[in-house]
């Protein structure tokens, strides 16, 4: 018999259940009026990490002010940041109202400053915000950026849990030099996301379904607001995503809406749906939107980044798409699988011939400068200033991609 005092006053669950769950756990928290915290842990790594799981659970529960509860944990090898996020989510869903800080101890150092405005952004790997197992090793595939996604890859009922997971991942997962991006939800839900993640100092926020400059300005101001309270003081860049006909029409205004916008990208699933056309492999239907995005981005002095290529198994198709994408003026694209990263990097890399030519042009330019000549010549050809500029940009990027070593330059 359960006494009146031990009867549950609130119940919450979080995390997946089932045979195929890996690197994750399910937590059920039942708040009671007395009896202390009763923990029941079933874990496939119980023999190795049972004590550690218990400690994680106790410290999170204490932080969210839970003093009396029955807690059941069914663990399939979740890492500490995952355990903390699931228990916190379950406790809050049960009605825990403590104001304490349940954030796990940082295991990756906080960032020392913002990333370079114009850093390489050839590949950005989407990581569903509520699936920690995909985050743990994302860095080893060396994408230029990772996107911890709170939007489309997260079920509407799981937004709260994903927010905690992404927050913890920003503190505890080493993405090995990848730029750490978070895609927030559409506004106004996205404001809740900002409160949770901005204090952890992500490098960049992706704003989905942007249709006006005002939306960008609002996000920028909210970020400043949160940062002023408990952020690390460094700028957080913005990358608006255009996903509608109206968004495409307002591309330039959006790209130039705030100083912190560093790149402009587009989402073709929603865009083609908005047009009422089918999204095809060739992408003729989105050609205008893509060109418009490139032009608006360049006009605003920011990077243009392409959408994703959906067929993970088709490496050749991906490479073709990426090469066309580079030819149109994009500087990168999204990845939905780590195996897409390398082909994309290959496709966005200048060819050895292009590099050679650009190095010659740069050398000719320097020689002309040294001689005080206004005209740059390469062999019998006169080189125009914009050609020099393009060559200089190509050389700079090739250097960052590691394609030029000192011996070849």
């Amino acid at each position: 018999m359960v006494s009146e005092a031990e009867r549950a006053t609130g119940r919450g669950e979080a995390g997946p259940v089932g045979g195929d769950v890996r690197s994750d756990l399910h937590a059920a928290v039942e708040l009671t009026k007395s009896g202390g915290v009763q923990l029941e842990i079933q874990s496939k790594v119980g023999a190795m990490y049972g004590d550690s799981i218990r400690q994680s659970a106790e410290s999170v529960l204490a932080a969210v002010g839970v003093k009396n509860a029955r807690v059941e944990i069914t663990d399939q090898g979740g890492l500490p940041f995952t355990i903390a996020a699931r228990i916190e989510a379950a406790a809050k869903r049960a009605g825990a109202k403590g104001k304490g800080d349940a954030r796990p101890e940082r295991t990756v150092p906080p960032r020392q400053g913002p990333t370079a405005r114009d850093r390489l952004r050839r590949s950005r790997l989407y990581l569903p915000g509520n699936q920690p197992k995909l985050m743990i090793n994302a860095g080893i595939h060396h994408p230029d950026g990772v996107i911890l996604d709170l939007e489309d890859s997260v079920h509407p009922d799981e937004k709260d849990a994903a927010r905690l997971m992404v927050r913890n991942a920003l503190r505890c997962v080493d993405f090995m030099g990848a730029e750490r991006m978070v895609r927030i939800n559409q506004l106004p839900l996205g404001f809740e996301d900002l409160k949770a993640v901005v204090p952890e100092g992500p490098d960049l926020i992706l704003i989905p379904k942007v249709e006006s400059a005002e939306q960008v300005v609002e996000v920028d101001e909210r970020i400043r607001g949160v940062r002023a309270r408990d952020g690390d003081g460094h700028a957080i860049w913005l990358m608006p995503i255009l996903e509608s006909a109206l968004g495409i029409e307002n591309a330039f205004a959006i790209a130039s809406a705030a100083e912190t916008v560093v790149a402009l990208t587009l989402g073709l699933e929603d865009y083609t749906a908005d047009l009422g056309v089918r999204k095809t492999q060739e992408g003729d239907e989105s050609l205008f939107a893509r060109l418009r995005t490139v032009n608006a981005a360049r006009a605003a002095g920011v990077q243009a980044i392409d959408s994703v290529y959906g067929d993970v198994g088709n490496v050749r198709g991906l490479e073709e798409w990426a090469r066309r994408s580079r030819a149109l003026g994009f500087e990168g694209m999204g990845c939905i699988h780590p195996r897409q990263i390398e082909p994309i990097h290959r496709a966005f890399a200048p060819s050895p011939e292009e590099i050679e030519k650009a190095l010659q042009i740069e050398a000719a330019f320097q020689e002309a400068q040294a001689k005080g000549l206004g005209v740059v010549r390469l062999g019998t050809k006169m080189i125009d200033p914009p050609v020099v500029l393009r060559a200089q940009r190509l050389v700079k990027n090739a250097r960052r991609m590691g394609l030029i070593t000192d011996s070849t330059s």
């Binding site: 690197s23 190795m48 994680s56 890492l79 080893i140």
Partner: protein
């Protein structure tokens, strides 16, 4: 298990029993140190006089055959795993023995599979006393919980041959499942409704056992061509409706891993072979049928094509992927120890360059050499590896016996032994300070390739030199271990084990390398 056991500490610091199932043991003395003397074991002399001149050795059923072999309590009955998880013959034989009232048998399989779980019931009933052979899944747990009356003995494929040949294990009755056989007892695995490829694991038994029974579901008139088992060694032939489930004997397709992390490991290994100069014209390699190994073959094939390099031979576990190399002219031969999928079975049946081998030619340490040391590189897995490159393939990190050794130990003698392993599985670190069970000494393990980097054994300064200018992620093993430990939230607690041995791990020379202990209460 009962009674106390005397233990000694062997050359790698492991405590091992001095007596196992009534036989005195030698503790591991170091690689190449143990020098046994004397002659090999031999089966009794037999005479044609006692066998039908017609060559027809058929008897109506297994019970009759076992009875005629003189089945008695305490005998050793052997079976083989070329039918893998589709095997029906081992249970058929043990059940027939049970019906004849036999007790306290020792089952001596070349490996066991989940389909053999009912043997637990036979052990509970006292019919089987204990198992010397791999114990996987529930059988492994049964042994780990101390429920077996005798001690488990785990041997490599080569070690099993060695134990039979050296007389350490005397097989009273060998029961050989044959996808095709003739009434004389010639048998082969490449044809028939239950075709499985090579029968190599059964060859030692066919030569050294007192009695040999061939069981087939595809009897052909003499001669069975080709024959891998020679009827001259066979006492009786039994015809049955089915020797197993073809769908579980060979897989229709073998699947390459789809995990991006494992693909990265496979890619690391392939690139390592190229950068280290091992992948050169006329080279050889062995890779199994695990997800990473299959993916490795795919990556290596691309590199071989790019650089115009051909292999002299590749060693299987053969699969579609090795057969493709043969068909595309990227290797001259497949030397096959085990045939995993349909394409490979068809290939071994029809292509003279796809050759069946045995543990004797491939792996037996007490022979005048074996093929394992002729292979330039081998890609293997492991459940744990420690900072001294020692590895464990037998127990999980909680100490429970879950896998056999297979050819793993034997392969360590290749020119370059590469363990291709994830650095952790969920929250189970693979790289550790100490392995739970030692299956292979680090002295023989040259490279550990993980998704977080490639660690080269410091003994292999030649390999370190060979790849020092490559852009491969070469890292000290301690560094990768530390990184993983941090990710896991600290080092794992040690497995809680008792002081009671339940099984031993034999080294390839028959000495005892390590002990598996009964697991403690939770």
């Amino acid at each position: 298990m009962s009674g106390s056991v005397d233990l000694v500490t062997n050359a790698v610091g492991r405590r091992v029993p001095t007596v196992v199932n009534g036989r005195e043991q030698v503790g591991f003395e170091g690689i190449g140190r143990y020098e046994p003397r004397g002659a090999k074991a031999a089966p009794p002399i037999r005479s044609c006089r006692d066998y039908p001149e017609s060559g027809d050795k058929r008897v109506p059923d297994l019970k009759t055959a076992l009875h005629k072999c003189g089945l008695r309590d305490g005998m050793t009955i052997s079976t083989h795993h070329h039918l893998r998880n589709g095997d029906a013959v081992a249970l058929m034989a043990l059940n027939a023995a049970a019906e004849l009232g036999a007790k306290d048998l020792m089952w001596f399989p070349s490996a066991s599979f989940p389909c053999h779980e009912p043997v637990m019931g036979l052990m509970d009933r006292g019919i089987v006393h204990h198992i010397e052979g791999s114990m996987n899944g529930p059988l492994g747990r049964y042994c780990s919980e101390g429920k077996m009356r005798g001690m488990g003995v785990l041997r490599s494929h080569g070690g099993r041959w060695q134990a039979i040949q050296d007389g350490e294990v005397h097989i009273d009755i060998a029961v050989i499942a044959a996808p095709t056989a003739d009434p004389f007892g010639n048998a082969d695995g490449s044809h028939g409704p239950s075709a499985c490829g090579s029968l190599g694991f059964a060859l030692a038994d066919s030569v050294y056992a007192d009695h040999v029974i061939v069981v087939t579901d595809n009897l052909v008139p003499f001669p069975c061509i080709p024959w891998q088992v020679q009827g001259n060694n066979v006492d009786f032939v039994v015809e049955v409706d089915s020797i197993g489930d073809p769908a579980k004997i060979v897989s229709g397709t073998t699947e390459i891993t789809r995990s991006p992390d494992r693909l990265l490991i496979a890619e690391h290994v392939a690139r390592f072979l190229k950068e280290a100069g091992i992948m050169r014209d006329g080279f050889s390699f062995q890779a199994g049928a695990g997800g990473i190994a299959l993916a490795f073959v795919g990556f290596l094939k691309e590199l071989m094509k790019e650089t115009g390099v051909k292999a002299r031979f590749v060693r299987g576990g053969s699969t579609t992927y090795l057969v493709d190399l043969l068909k595309e002219g990227l290797t001259d031969y497949i030397l096959d120890g085990q045939t995993f999928d349909l394409t490979a079975v068809q290939s071994i049946a029809s292509d003279a360059r796809h050759v069946a081998t045995s543990p004797f030619t491939s792996y037996n340490y007490h022979g005048k050499g074996n093929f394992a040391s002729l292979v330039d590189a081998v890609v293997l897995g492991a459940t744990e590896v420690d900072v001294n490159f020692n590895a464990n393939v037998n127990t999980h990190s909680d100490g429970v016996l879950l896998h056999g050794i297979g050819g793993w130990q034997n392969c360590l003698f290749s020119g370059c032994t590469i363990l291709a392993v994830p650095s952790f599985r969920d929250r189970i670190p693979v790289l550790l300070d100490d392995v739970t069970t030692m299956t292979g000494p680090g002295e023989l393990i040259d490279v550990v390739a993980t998704e977080r980097g490639i660690a080269i054994n410091p003994r292999r300064t030649d390999l370190l030199d060979a790849v020092k200018n490559s852009d491969l992620p070469i890292r000290p093993i301690e560094e990768i271990k530390d990184e993983v430990e941090k990710l896991m939230g600290g080092p794992p607690a040690k497995a809680r084990l008792t002081e009671e041995p339940v099984a031993v791990i034999k080294w390839v020379d028959g000495t005892v390398l390590d002990t598996v202990w009964r697991i403690g209460g939770s």
